[in-house]
Symmetry: C2
Subunit: 232 residues, 2 copies
């Protein structure tokens, strides 16, 4: 029920180059595939392990233990850039697919529909990203765009552009606006210089350790920042 040509095609989609050429991407896992079928994304193919067998499934799977279902969906064309406003998240150089997916999942939890990503971020349709989003990939509008320009647009429209830095205002004691563009920076190097120049407010999550802890990872820091925005 799956031809060799199809196997070859799905395997090619493990690579970004072919995902882009084919405008397609892979979704795996019973739960995620079921969600995919109801997501509004065009489903090009869907295979179940029960039908094609363990061996064929392990040949097309991206996972170390092949799941019961794998679907190939058509990538969505990026929507036009939305006007500034609301609470939005901008990912600045989040290269790790797991972190990138986790941040989209978090945006989903906190009711943030739109996420901007700098062009050097992980690819939205990387199977590891898709997996880590736990379905948020179907619900978020992700725009790859140069962040300094996006930030400048928000500033010019009168909206705050906020990032976390080591030397900012204590986030627990700062008044937070309802609308803002929140920047999450690269785990190693933080928010890039060109984006930092556009920031209108610098926030800090205070450390309580006092024993050498230098940083939180980007997912934890962003979770705390978004939690502070939403709880108030």
């Amino acid at each position: 029920m799956i031809s060799n040509a199809e196997i070859k095609w799905v395997r090619s989609l493990h690579e970004k180059k072919f995902r882009e050429r084919e405008g397609a991407f892979i979704v795996e896992g019973e739960k995620l595939v079921r969600e995919a079928l109801n997501s509004g994304f065009e489903v090009l193919h869907c295979w179940w392990r029960d039908e094609i067998g363990e061996q064929a499934m392990s040949r097309i799977s991206c996972l170390s233990s092949p799941s019961p279902a794998l679907a190939v969906l058509r990538q969505k064309a990026e929507a036009p850039l939305p006007a500034p406003g609301g609470l939005c998240l901008a990912l600045d150089g989040i290269r790790d697919p797991g972190n990138f997916g986790t941040l989209l999942r978090m945006a989903d939890w906190f009711g943030i529909p739109t996420v901007f990503a700098s062009p050097d971020c992980a690819e939205l349709y990387n199977p590891k990203v898709v997996q880590a989003t736990m379905g948020a990939v179907f619900r978020k509008e992700v725009h790859y765009a140069p962040l300094p320009e996006i930030c400048a647009q928000w500033r010019e429209a009168g909206f705050p552009v906020l990032g976390t830095f080591l030397n900012g205002e204590n986030i627990y004691q700062t008044e937070l606006p309802a609308d803002a563009l929140v920047i999450a920076g690269n785990e190693g190097s933080g928010i890039s210089a060109a984006v930092a120049e556009q920031v209108t407010g610098r926030l800090t999550i205070p450390a309580f350790g006092g024993n050498g802890a230098e940083s939180l990872n980007v997912a934890a820091a962003t979770a705390i920042v978004l939690s502070e925005f939403r709880r108030r």
Copy 2:
């Protein structure tokens, strides 16, 4: 400057079985190795890429791009179980090494010295855990122990045992104690039934999406919970 026997020995430490037998573990990365040298852990060996060459380094390294430094340290004997009290974290079935390490790093940030881990958690000395802790591995006291018993001890000593559940009290509106044992549950299945029975308070982080987001990952959820404890 590194013998074949040494290369073989370090490579054996990539596996848990040999780490346990040798009572040793690997630390990699220039920053982490420098920290290791000042950590109070006994350093059994330390190699620099400059000295042993790229090729030897790549043979002993656990990383896909071998770093400039690798040290082998002696594992610390577990300290006796501390008496209940203070703010502590208990990890219930955190099997993913990256998550486990990230949670230790977070404990470090939030000034939590002691972390309990159920026996089915990732191994503290797994190289991926060590890497993800960003040095917290040198500063935290980690106790592997059956969590239901630990929880029972805390309860009996009159301290709250708190976990996050889908049907708990809104954490933003709940009074939080200064001392508590906070449980972080397995990413897929959450807090185990035997531990849940021992919980004295159920907390919930409310979702703001209303569009299908089902959960936060354990690192994000724990970051928010610890942030709520510490900011007040």
